[in-house]
Amino acid sequence: MSGTQQAPSVSIAPNLVESIGLHAWSETRRMLRISRQWPSLLVVLSATVVGAAGAHFAPADLLAAPDFFRTVCLRAIALLAIGYATAALRADADRGALALYLVRPRASLALPLGRLVATTGVIAVTGVLFACLLFGATAAVAVAPDIGHLPLMCLAAVLAAVGYTPLFMAVAAYFKRAAAICVAWFVVVDLMLASATTSFATFAPGPAVQTVAARYPDPHWYSDVLLAPIGQVFAIGAIATALLLWKFAADEPG
């Protein structure tokens, strides 16, 4: 082992945005490894096959693909978000494996935000891919639905990622059994209570995302009816992100 080495070219350390970008890129690379992608591949393939089959058996149903996307695929995206969001923080936190990152300045903000950006991005892209494959498969084997449904389906997929991912990552930051808590929360609040009473719908991304996906495409699809659920999902995402950062910011460097 040599005691002296040529000094590397070191510039000023990255600022917060650059640090977030580095963490996000690292996490994205980690998530996109094929060994970690089997859940998304499985979800995309199975949903596409099921959706295509459903459309094949009901060729006259123009709403088969959007309905299937709304009732099945969006919930699958939520479950995917539980898996990835909890894995992004909880597994490393439980092992104490975040220590090396957290001794870097600004890491208490950059690490959770970077991983949040990466996880949200991957889930959103998976959801959009989901919508496109489903729409394409339906069009290939049956009567093509109105093309106006596709952007709504894609928007709903992105909103699902934006709403669910920070929520589940915040849970992962605070609780050890995060995955179980997230699944329980999803079933009880998002599926059962939110559909029964409107007040609970405020705290769950699901009903808002469903509203977007259920809109029939028309020239006014961007009207207030659409903006309200979008705002609601972003508000839920922002509150959850704040809670996530609060957890990490307890000992911010002085």
Binding site: M1, S2, G3, T4, Q5, A7, P8, S9, V10, S11, I12, A13, P14, N15, S19, L22, H23, S26, R29, R30, R33, R36, D92, R95, G96, A97, L98, A99, L100, Y101, L102, V103, R104, P105, A107, A110, D251, P253, G254
Partner: protein
């Protein structure tokens, strides 16, 4: 001495618990051993010196002027935290490349630098293996590599020799000394005294959050001398020898256990001068003479007793 980090009456509390109390230190280039039992406040002190947590009261000054952990200091401070866990799915090369980039090493150089640092610590064959497949010692070396890879002015190593085999303990110790020789302030934290004695020029002893002693080996030795001296003597007639020493007035107390004579004195020099004539006078044969309490272990216990 050019101060690299200076603590002025620095205290850190966690709720009602005082982790570090009124720490006053001025540290320049060299290797400092931070010694203390588990829970003494070593890690909190190191995290404060790294600028990762703020002191509750008091100030810390880095590189002569910075009172806060400014961005300019990010490349000047490196830390190897305690604990052996690392992200299991990353490879050492991926992890170090990211950590170097987060420390300001350019994208162009980070990969090369990470590879060189890992190879330097004997991990050439493990560059692209997932960390989960590495042994404890290899994971420790990955942690050390990320700290050594940054050309820092202040290098904080928390239990750096944990999990290393004797060969790597020696190599890492040499590396620590070489790093300090290039003008870096290296602080090595440990609760194993022998480890720190072997590598550090200066020692900082901390107990229950208080710095109970700090200085060079020589200064610590003087502290030992101030505490008085003791010998254990294996002799054929220990009681006669004890009487002779008492008659000489060189000892403060004696006791015999298992035919070994234990003597305490105010001053080691006087005791050593008195021993040969006492041996002659008592007509006893001496087989072995050992110094008692003449090591850091006993000093640490004595200082810790004072704090208690």
């Amino acid at each position: 001495m050019t101060a690299i980090v200076q603590l002025d009456r620095t205290t850190r509390r966690f709720g009602p618990h005082v982790a570090v109390l009124d720490a006053d230190l001025t540290l320049g280039p060299g290797v400092y051993g931070l010694l203390g039992p588990n829970g003494a406040g070593k890690t909190t002190l190191m995290r404060m010196m790294a600028g990762l947590i703020r002191p509750t009261t008091g100030t810390i000054t880095w590189l002569g002027g910075h009172k806060r952990r400014a961005r300019e200091l990010d490349n000047a401070i490196a830390i190897c935290p305690d604990g052996e866990q690392l992200p299991p799915r990353e490879t050492p090369l991926e992890l170090l490349t990211l950590l170097l980039r987060l420390s300001g090493v350019s994208a162009r150089d980070a990969g090369e630098r990470a590879e060189a640092a890992l190879i330097d610590l004997g991990l050439k064959e493990e560059l692209d293996r997932p960390i989960a497949q590495l042994s404890r010692g290899q994971r420790q070396r990955v942690k050390l590599a990320q700290a050594f890879a940054i050309p820092a002015k202040l290098l904080l190593l928390d239990e750096p020799l944990n999990a290393l085999d004797p060969v790597w303990r020696l190599k890492v110790s040499e590396r620590i000394k070489a790093t300090a020789g290039s003008g870096t302030c290296v602080i090595v934290s440990s609760h194993v005294l022998a480890e720190v004695e072997a590598v550090a020029e200066r020692l900082i002893l901390i107990f229950k959050g208080r710095i109970v002693a700090a200085g060079t080996h020589l200064e610590i030795r003087e502290l030992l001398d101030e505490r008085g001296a003791g010998l254990s003597i294996t002799a054929t007639e220990p009681r006669k020898l004890a009487a002779a020493l008492m008659a000489h007035g060189a000892v403060t107390s004696t006791r015999v256990e298992d035919d070994i004579l234990y003597v305490d004195a105010d001053d080691m020099q006087t005791l050593c001068k008195a021993l040969p004539p006492a041996v002659v006078a008592s007509k006893t044969q001496v087989w072995e003479v050992r110094a008692q309490g003449d090591d850091l272990v006993s000093l640490f216990h004595a200082l810790a007793d004072e704090v208690r």
